[in-house]
Amino acid sequence: MIEARSLTKHYGSKVAVDQLSFDVRPGVVTGFLGPNGSGKSTTMRMIVGLDAPNSGDVTVNGRHYHDLPWPLHEVGALLEAKAIHPGRNARAHLRMLAETNHIPLSRVEEVLDIVGLSAVAGQRVGKFSLGMGQRLGIAAALLGDPEVLLFDEPVNGLDPDGIRWVRNLLKGLAREGRTVFVSSHLMSEMAVTADEVVIIGRGRLIAEVPTDELIAQSSQRFVRVRSPGIDKLRAALDRDGATTVLEDDGSLTVRGLDEASIGELAASIPVALHELSPQSASLEEAFMELTESSIEYRGSSAAGTTGQVGA
């Protein structure tokens, strides 16, 4: 269980994380989504006590990270790929971590085996590919067999096989009842991996929802309309209760009415139609929309921007 309460972090005058509150509960994979630079890594660093928040609080299993008696037995974290001395070999890197928390050295061999690095364990890490570095970072996170696991962008640099492997690993860990918190800037990846998502933009909470709910919202259909009499048509649509947005390319995005009703309405005015096409937004678009609104409405409250999700 991870509980963040009004977590805030400034770097100089720049606000990296702003009044962020969320819960990550055990037994499910929780995705941590946001564009690059939205404060995901900073939040993760604050969870494991590397960065101190300016205000607010975050606890792991009810305690501050600093007060954990055996940190690696309780929390495993992959924060940055290849944040490892390039001159040291993989086994030695894991060994020096294991020793700090009295983890038996046999466990080092176990995790090397789990991540598939046994064969190269004696090689210097400097020779590793980004993907191998990721695997070593994951091995380090698993070292203490912890109940709480954090992964910051774990699939970066992995090939499709590796991505599938990470996905199954995360799901497996959650099935065992562990708390799994995984960040990504890719909505599509989280859609297939995460059971719940915490979405942030500019350091603020945008949404904290089950993934399937988010998918349901974002798969809402809309109709794209082009017409020489677009203004007249738009006014009529608005009167009939549709939600309309005039796009930059001159097309009109209409929600709340299906293409048949729009076509009939156009005929009754009458205006000609050049396009009348039903569309469905991809999850990625929904995510972009969400996080863009965090930029657009950054003065408003988190609750207010969350309201945009259902609109």
Binding site: P26, E74, H85, A92
Partner: protein, 277 residues
């Protein structure tokens, strides 16, 4: 958190070891870190080879030219100091290793893994300094004693030489090893403060080489008063059998140097706790 939450699944119910992580694990970890990178072997290897080799060269050279030396030179010849000349090159290699032990953690990002495994930061620095200090001490004393005995053996008659029982000889030999070790700890503290390899090495070299030049450029009365406080000057006093009129005596000088090292480690530790990793 959401309406769909029913009850939390049961976690793995992990049983933790008794007590907490602490010094014993950190010492083992730091020892593993130190011996699993090449830079350790390089710096220590160079310390041994240069420390002993240069001492052997200097003493053999003196012996070869003994017959052509004037009587005054022969009288003022310090056999002990000459045989320990290689120790002064060890200042740089031990200092660089002291810097690397700390700065490499920042340069490579390992510091984040280290501090996640052991969030009590002063404990981490203490473990690091202890392991490095112990290794530096063993290697430095080894260099000092081997250089001394080899040097004295090379200073065969008619050249004068000393024995380890001669007044002040043991102090000079053992003291030069201690001096190197404490200097290395000072460098480690500097690296904890500066957090960059190049910056910390520059600061260390600056203290050893540049500061004496700056002091020498000061007006005499003032410069002479300050000079004895410099680490390099303290080292000179420890190694030589004759203490200059304005130098600290060897042991008081050594304790002052220990004070410098403690200060840099304490400041480094304070900043380690205060700053984000």
């Amino acid at each position: 958190m959401s309406a769909t939450t029913v009850t939390d699944p049961v976690g793995p119910q992990k049983v933790l070891p008794p007590g907490t992580y602490g010094m014993s694990g950190l010492l083992r970890s730091e020892w593993t870190k130190l011996r699993t990178v090449r830079s350790t072997m390089w710096t220590l290897g160079v310390t041994l080879v240069l420390g002993i080799g240069l001492s052997a060269l200097a003493t053999a050279e003196t012996r070869a030219h003994w017959s052509s030396m004037g009587p005054g030179d022969r009288l003022s010849f310090d056999a002990t100091q000459t045989s320990l000349i290689g120790v002064f090159f060890g200042q740089f290699t031990i200092g660089i290793l002291g810097v690397l032990v700390m700065s490499a953690e920042y340069g490579t990002g390992t510091i984040r893994a280290t501090l996640s495994a052991a969030p009590r930061r002063p404990l981490v620095l203490a473990a690091k300094a202890s392991v490095f200090g112990a290794v530096a001490l063993v290697v430095s004393e080894l260099v000092a004693f081997v250089a001394y005995f080899l040097g004295q053996a090379l200073l065969s008659a008619p050249a004068t030489h000393t024995t380890i029982g001669s007044p002040g000889a043991l102090r000079a030999v053992a003291g030069s090893g201690l001096y190197l070790c404490v200097l290395g700890l000072l460098a480690l503290g500097l690296a904890a403060i500066i957090r960059h390899t190049a910056g910390a090495i520059s600061a260390f070299i600056g203290i050893l080489l540049v500061l004496p030049l700056v002091v020498a450029a000061l007006p005499n009365s003032f410069g002479n008063e300050i000079e004895r406080f410099l680490p390099a000057h303290i080292g000179q006093a420890i190694v030589s059998l004759q203490t200059g009129p304005r130098s600290f005596a060897p042991w008081p000088g050594f304790f002052l140097l220990c004070g410098y090292a403690a200060l840099s480690l304490l400041l480094g530790g304070y900043l380690l706790v205060r700053r984000d990793a």
